[in-house]
């Protein structure tokens, strides 16, 4: 439901939510987001708001509310905001946490108050919460494998690490190393810290470019656009990279004909929508696993143009989860079956 229409409803969503007084026994869903400063989070919020607005029209929920912690990725702000959200007694609380641990006490507090808590986009050590996230092993695998195949299994690569030391990054680096071990012809000439952020990666790669020989690929985590810019600045051909899944990077990839095994891979901002469905199912008393892994967004060259035509520059590719698709995926998780593959949204919506 929430796809195609884009983020048009986002600007008014908060105001609208305040007026939806008639909800009565229909559930009140609150979403707390720890950080709104990048395009991924903004897409995530936009998708949620579109889906929640639709769900309200359909009479599935009474009202909803989105609170973004202002400023930098600040757990303290988010804790404060969740506390003031709790005052408003939501039925379910969706959380995209600023920090995987800092929210634990306040989540416990929410559970005690009888609120259903769904944490998405990140693991968290809160036994009472339901967690919905993407697989970082998948991410690292998709980021490395197609790229290494693309450069023919030999040459030299730079590894651009994410937020060094974080749990996901450790997992991803581990996977990357394992995969690299399968390609003896590939030499790692430098490892930089790109923080999964194009701007940081751009500067980091630029900093080492003069000190390394010819580079065939840069294995990164959604920072390919910046990496490509760094090579352009240095006047070198763009190697195979891992692009962001946003419109800007995909168009750049398409327009500059970088057909060398580059892929775009990132986690799915549509998780917020999936979390909404999960919350509704939980409130409906359905049995949903505590931990669920949802599929990551991988865009290979063949799907690139289709995605590129529907995404705005700063909008990230998101799977269009519907209640149906969500329940199928839950089944897949329960039975250990193949994950659902949602359709690529089309421009027509």
């Amino acid at each position: 439901a929430g796809c195609g229409s884009g983020g048009s409803g986002s600007a008014t969503a908060d105001a609208a939510s305040g007026t939806a007084g008639g909800g009565g026994d229909k559930p009140f869903i609150a979403l707390s987001n720890g950080f709104i400063g990048n395009g991924w989070r903004q897409t995530m919020i936009a998708k949620f708001e579109a889906a929640a607005e639709q769900a309200k029209t359909d009479g599935l929920i009474g009202k909803y509310k989105v609170v973004n912690a202002p400023g930098e990725n600040s757990a303290t702000e988010q804790v404060a905001q969740i506390k003031s959200l709790l005052l408003q007694k939501p039925d379910a609380l969706l959380i995209d946490p600023a920090s995987p641990t800092a929210l634990q006490p306040v989540i416990q507090q929410a559970c005690t108050a009888g609120v259903k808590v769904v944490v998405f986009d990140s693991a968290i050590d809160a036994p009472c919460a339901h967690v919905l996230q993407n697989s970082f092993v998948d991410w690292a695998t998709y980021a490395a494998k197609p790229l290494l195949e693309g450069i023919g299994g030999k040459g030299s690569v730079i590894v651009s690490r994410g937020v060094v030391g974080s749990q996901p990054e450790a997992e991803m680096l581990d996977t990357t190393k394992k995969i690299l071990a399968d390609y003896p012809g590939v030499k790692t000439v430098a490892t930089v810290t790109g923080m999964c952020d194009g701007a940081t990666a751009q500067k980091a790669v630029l900093g080492v470019l003069s000190s390394v020989p010819k580079v065939d690929g840069v294995i990164g985590c959604g920072d390919g656009y910046g990496v490509a810019q760094a090579f352009a600045t240095a006047g070198k051909p763009v190697p195979a990279v891992d692009f962001e899944t946003n419109g800007r990077a995909l168009s750049y990839w398409r327009d500059n004909k970088i057909d060398n095994g580059s892929v775009a891979v990132m986690s799915d901002p549509g998780q917020s929508v999936a979390a909404l469905w999960e919350a509704l199912d939980l409130l409906g008393g359905k049995d949903v696993p505590k931990q669920m892994t949802f599929p990551i967004v991988l865009i290979e060259q063949k799907d690139r143009d289709a995605w590129a035509s529907v995404l705005k520059p700063d909008e990230y590719a998101a799977w269009p989860w519907t209640q149906e698709l969500f329940r199928q995926q839950v089944e897949a998780v329960k039975t250990g079956g193949k994950p659902v593959q949602p359709p690529i949204p089309s421009a027509a919506g």
Binding site: A11, D14, A15, S17, G18, N33, I36, K65, V66, V67, N68, P70, G71, E72, N73, S74, A75, T76, E77, V79, A80, Q81, K83, S84, L85, L86, L87, Q88, K89, A98, S99, P100, T101, A102, L103, Q104, P105, V106, Q108, Q109, D125, V163, V164, G165, S166, Q167, E169
Partner: protein
Amino acid sequence: MAQLLAPALPDRARMRRSAPAAVSAVALIAMLCVCSSLQPGVLTVEGLTLVLSATVPLVIAAQAQMTLMAVGDIDLGIGNFVGLVTVVSATLLVSSPLVGVLVLLGLVAAYAVLGLLIHLREVPALIATLGASFVWLGLGLFLLPTPGGTTPGWLASFGAWQPAGFPAPLLPILVVALVVYLLSARSAAGVRMRGLGSNPVALRRAGLRPLTSRVIAYATAGALGVLSGLVLASQTGGGDVSSASSYTLMTVAAVILGGGSFSGGNAVPWGAAIGGVTLGLVSVVLSLLDVRSDMQSAVQGVIVLAVLAGRVVVGKVLR
């Protein structure tokens, strides 16, 4: 001249000095009223507990900032320092409590040494603490590259403590403000610190070493920073070196809102507490008010400016 024209000066002066804190207090009460009209639950014990608890670490950090501003310095590293303390308490304090405690004491000592060097080398505190903030950040990242860890049980249970009939967060706010008040406004050490901010030459002439005063102030600030970090860790249940980075400027704003000034000589522990709670409540009000989330920081900025403008107006009236 002055005594010829305004015999009642002292009382007026006293009023003028407490005006800023009073203006902030008015803003605070106004915000509480707005909150409770939107959400009647706010004025209950549970409501106040929820609303106030997040402001406790900020208020304590503001006391640290206030201590340094009383000697005429400013601390641009307090945010990262508090973050570092949360990291220490989520790592070392759990794995080996003794080492953890020693490290925390070491951090207080580090602050004292920082003050010592600032004094001896006659460098601006602004820049030295800015440089130190990189160091705190680096140390924190070194111990715990990304948020994580768990705080020790006793700390967590302090965070979860809920006495009946009394909003728990009020207790640390009041106790810390009282202790800082006793130290900075009532004790001899406080006279030394404020004297340093006020007129270091007079101190030197009286045979009191300004160095000692500055070191006392920095050690106090360090201790309060550690306390703030511990309280923050008790609330977040883990360590995150950048969890309090916004505190750096927020604490300065809190002290200014509470009537402090950059010129030193003034200790405003109660004002800093009021200012800190006021600032902390802003985001609560904003989320209750359904202010669009992207406009929240603008409203925050405007509120700070409005309170300060109100202060200018009150100051003019009282002149």
